[in-house]
Structures are given as structure tokens and as C-alpha cells.
Subunit: 322 residues, 2 copies
């Protein structure tokens, strides 16, 4: 936490094509951690430089606009979070497309729902379940870190599409949440053992694994997956915090069982974001998909939010409100 601080800087003059946004909601995502290493994984977003401001998905109110189609007072999402006032380029495809500047409809949902369920979090979960894993009704789906932001949406979406859903998480409270609030078919705490509990939860094996964790979780999935099963590699939080990353020693099972393992980032599916938003907004209005919030107040609290998220102390979507 002492590695991050809030700094005061001058707000530059707006250039043509830019807007000035008073940020109100900042998205706290595990993948931020990847950019806090001197070398971010090649092919991923670049590492933050020491002294540079963080950046992430955010929602805010437009204070000033030199961009056609965006008016003062509009509520917008963009990728210049982690600052009180943000100068945003209208044509920036930041965060690989998922963070493009866009007007939000405040009548549709409150800002935190736009940021989470209808924003990058929801698009990531939707792309993984619908496009990457292509779940079918009747299949058994395991979602790890299922009490997290992306995981909880992925799990509920798979349920809504007629799957039997197993969720895992890192505390008894989260397991209770998965079972009683989200209504998953089975849930377990991974600290009590992966393989045995997964076998109990899915005795016939799983058809799809939605991976937010990597490492031993992925190995357990490869053991359990049925022939022609699929893995959506969304994240690998077990390797984010300086632990040496570990590849699955049983990867040959992919050949033995004709498995498909597909890594993805939401930005690759930015052209399907509207479709995702329509489905998720419909499910949200119908009360079939919810997204718990872990809220932190003020940018001063952002470092604590990031640390808590990586330590597994948050539930659902982690947001800094400022």
C-alpha cells in the first residue's frame, strides 16, 4: 500500500476531440496487478512506470467537452480511472477496446452497474461463457473465484443459460454466498482441497472450466474435464502477486481428451459489447443476475482496495467511489 500515493497535478487544457470527466466510480480489477510489475506479460497492456498514474475503467460526469456527441453533464465510461479529473481522448481504444469512451444511459442503471455488470466485468464474463466456452444448456460448468466480479457474473450467466454450475472461492462466507445468494448448484472453499471437492461437486466431470485462478486450479480442471471439454482462460490471479507461475503438469490431458483451452481478453470482443449488455441488462432487470459491490470511499482508499482484492477479502465487484 505504501507503494502507491495520491498526487496533485495540473489539469491540462482540452484539445479538440477530448473531454474532461469528473470521475465518480473507479473499477478495481485483479489484472491491475500485472501492470504493477516492471515487466507486464508480453502482449498484455504495458507496465505502469514508476511515477506514472494508474489507469483503469471508470465512470464519471462530463465537465467540459470538445468532442461531438458528448455534452456537459453526460455520464460516460472510459479507461482513465484512478484520477479525480480525467482528460479522455474520444478515439482512444484504451484497454484493447473495452475501455473506449462511451455515453451511458443513467435511466437504464446506476453508475456502479454500468461500471460492473454492464461494463468490462460483464463483457468479460459474457465473452468467456458465451463466445469462448460456448456453454450449452445441460452442461456442467466450474467457475473459480466465483465470488469475485467476473466469476460471479460468469456463474450466474451459465445458470441462466441452463447449465449446472459449480463455484469455488476462498472462504466459508463466500461459499455460503455462492450457494444461498447466487443459487449455484454446488460450491466449495478451495483451501479444503481442489480435486476431491470438485469430484464431489461434479462426479461425472465438468464440460467447461472458467478459469480466474490458474495454477493448481487449472490442473484440477484438466483432471476433471470430460472429452471435448473447454477451458476459458480469463485470468490467473494465483500467479499475479509475485508467486512463481506454474504451468499445469497434466497438460497432456488436453490431447488425451480433445480439450480446447482458450485465453481471452474482453477487448477482443468489443464488437459484441452491445449484445452482451442487452442480455446482461435483461437478466439484471429480471433479478436473475446480480453483482455484489465492495465499495471503498475516496481515491486515498484505492491502494487498500487493490490489496484487499488480491488478498481475497472483497466480494463481487470492487469499486472506489469518489
Amino acid at each position: 500500500m505504501e507503494d502507491l500515493s495520491v498526487a496533485e497535478v495540473e489539469v491540462p487544457q482540452l484539445e479538440a476531440g477530448q473531454v474532461l470527466v469528473r470521475n465518480t466510480h473507479h473499477s478495481v480489477d485483479a489484472a491491475l496487478r500485472l501492470r504493477l510489475d516492471p515487466t507486464s506479460p508480453p502482449g498484455y497492456l504495458p507496465a505502469f512506470e514508476v511515477g506514472e498514474g494508474l489507469a483503469g475503467l471508470a465512470v464519471g460526469t462530463v465537465l467540459e467537452s470538445r468532442l461531438a456527441g458528448i455534452e456537459v453533464g453526460d455520464i460516460v465510461q472510459h479507461a482513465r480511472g484512478y484520477r479525480g479529473l480525467a482528460v479522455v481522448d474520444g478515439d482512444s481504444a484504451a484497454l484493447g477496446g473495452a475501455g473506449r469512451l462511451a455515453r451511458l444511459d443513467p435511466a437504464l442503471a446506476p453508475p456502479e452497474v454500468h461500471l460492473g455488470l454492464l461494463g468490462g466485468t460483464g463483457l468479460t464474463a459474457w465473452a468467456g461463457i458465451v463466445l469462448v466456452a460456448s456453454v450449452r444448456a445441460g452442461e456442467t460448468v466450474w467457475v473459480s473465484a466465483a465470488a469475485g466480479a467476473v466469476g460471479s457474473v460468469a456463474a450466474q450467466l451459465a445458470k441462466a443459460r441452463g447449465c449446472r454450475v459449480v463455484g469455488s472461492a476462498g472462504s466459508p462466507d463466500k461459499v455460503t454466498y455462492l450457494r444461498d445468494v447466487l443459487g449455484l448448484d454446488a460450491a466449495f472453499d478451495y483451501h479444503d482441497g481442489l480435486g476431491v471437492q470438485l469430484d464431489e461437486a461434479a462426479p461425472e466431470g465438468v464440460d467447461v472450466y472458467f478459469d480466474n485462478v490458474g495454477g493448481a486450479h487449472l490442473e484440477a480442471a484438466l483432471d476433471s474435464l470430460r472429452p471435448f471439454g473447454r477451458v476459458a482462460l480469463c485470468g490467473a490471479i494465483s500467479g499475479y502477486n509475485g508467486d512463481p507461475p506454474r504451468g499445469p503438469a497434466n497438460l497432456f490431458l488436453a490431447t488425451a481428451k480433445n480439450l480446447t483451452i482458450r485465453g481471452f481478453r474482453a477487448g477482443a470482443f468489443a464488437d459484441r459489447a452491445d449484445e452482451a449488455r442487452v442480455e446482461l441488462a435483461g437478466l439484471w432487470r429480471a433479478g436473475r443476475v446480480t453483482l455484489e459491490l465492495s465499495t471503498y470511499s475516496g481515491l486515498d482508499e484505492a491502494p487498500r482496495a487493490i490489496v484487499d482484492l488480491l488478498a481475497g477479502r472483497t466480494l463481487g465487484k470492487c469499486v472506489v467511489v469518489d
Copy 2:
């Protein structure tokens, strides 16, 4: 080699639906090694029991038939190799479909070509290049163990489909073979280092990796693969011979770069075998695809053939002729 021996057994009476085949050509495949461990990988073909005969793809002449559509004197392929005389069930889907009993056309090609290029070897290479990796003209494709049976067909097929093909192998002679005989665009000996040579051979990265080796080869591929690249996981010979298997420590790159890693076995594509055979037979007649033979004489030599193959001492397709 002392772990295998040739035994004399009674030939049982044929039952209805069976044929008796005098085997003439036995396919020596690296994956046999997997079944010579007490526990074959779960989901894969079962391990051979001690005292049980080996089995594998073979071609032979029918001596006796109690199966409609198969006549005495027919040349057939099946999965009951590693015995002089084989009793073959007409409805057996042995080896997951790739080893189903089928009549061959001796006018089309000699038996060793049916066994290799037009048999399980060719189907495996074709399925990996065409269906699993879906190579497109102009893409850069890396094939490991490219002087081996499946690898050499995969590499030539990718060339025939308009790709730039890089091949790796385990000796200077094989590298010369890849460059001068198969005409690959680049080739290197993996003993001289993987990453650096791959970067030299494909400075812009590869679009597709056809993996016959696993381990460090797969790690080098993940480093090199361009966004939206694909891996066809065909085999992992580096882990077959008792070496502890090692998963790729850089698997997160699959997420960072939107990569698809797909394991497969030819049996899963048995319904496309005719299509594969038509394309491969056409390329073979046109001299655009060849398959070198490493021939061993007599079943007594089969153990040496298996050991030589796993030690990297064979080139192309390894066959026991008896």
C-alpha cells in the same frame, strides 16, 4: 528392449463378423510409450497389461473372412498390429475410430503409404493443420519434431496450403532434411536453443504452433505466438519417457494474447478421414508431400524400433515390415 518379447500363441477360431489378417506392416508410434506405463493418462487409451500383446495400427492381407464386404486376399488396415496373425472385429472402433477395419485400394498406393501418409499418421497431421489450427495461406507455422512422421506431413501440408513453415528437429541431419528435402522455409536443431532460433526463424512471431514435443518447446511457442495465435497439441514426446512432465510457466500469455490451445487425437476426426485421404493422396501423387520411411524387418525388431523412435534416431514414418 528387454522389457518386450515375441510370444507364440494359438490363433483362435474366427467368430461371425471377424477376419483373420496376415499382418505385413506395423506402425511404430511415439504414443505407444504412453500405454507402456502402468497408468496411461486418464482419458487416453488404456495401458497395456504385463503379459498382454501390444497393439497398434497395421496393414495386412486377409487370410480368412467371416465378415460381409471383406474377401480373402483383400489388403486391409486395422488396429491389431504387433502380431503376425490378427483376428480383427469388423465393428471395432479401436484407437478411437482411427483404427477401424477398412479395405485399402492397392492400386492407389503401396501398403506403407496407406499405413503412413494415408493412414493414422496422415489423418493426425491433416486434422491438426486443417481442422484444429485452421491454417490460412500466408501464416507462419512452426512444427516441432518436424522430421518425424506426423510432423513431416504436417509441415508439408502447411506449405501446400500456402504457409511459411518453420521446422525443428533433434539433429543436424534432420535439419538438413527439413531444409533441403522437404523445402521448409527455415529449420533448426532444438539442442542449439529454442527461443533465440525460433525468433530468428520467425522474427514477427508465429501464427500457429503444431506441437509434438510439449515442455520447453510449448513455452517457446507461447512466447513467440502472435495475438489470436493457435496451438495444435498433438503430442508431448518430451514427457513420454519417464521425464517428469512440465507445464508451460508462461501460460498466462494465452490470456494476454487471446491464444487458443487445442489438444486433439485423430480418432476424434474419423468422420473426416476420407476428406483427409483425398487431399493427401493428391499431394502425394503430385510429389508435393512425401513421407520418409525408417523400416525395421521382423517383429523381433519391433522393440528396437520403438526405442529408436523415442530416442529420436528415426526419420519420417517408422514401420516394422514382417
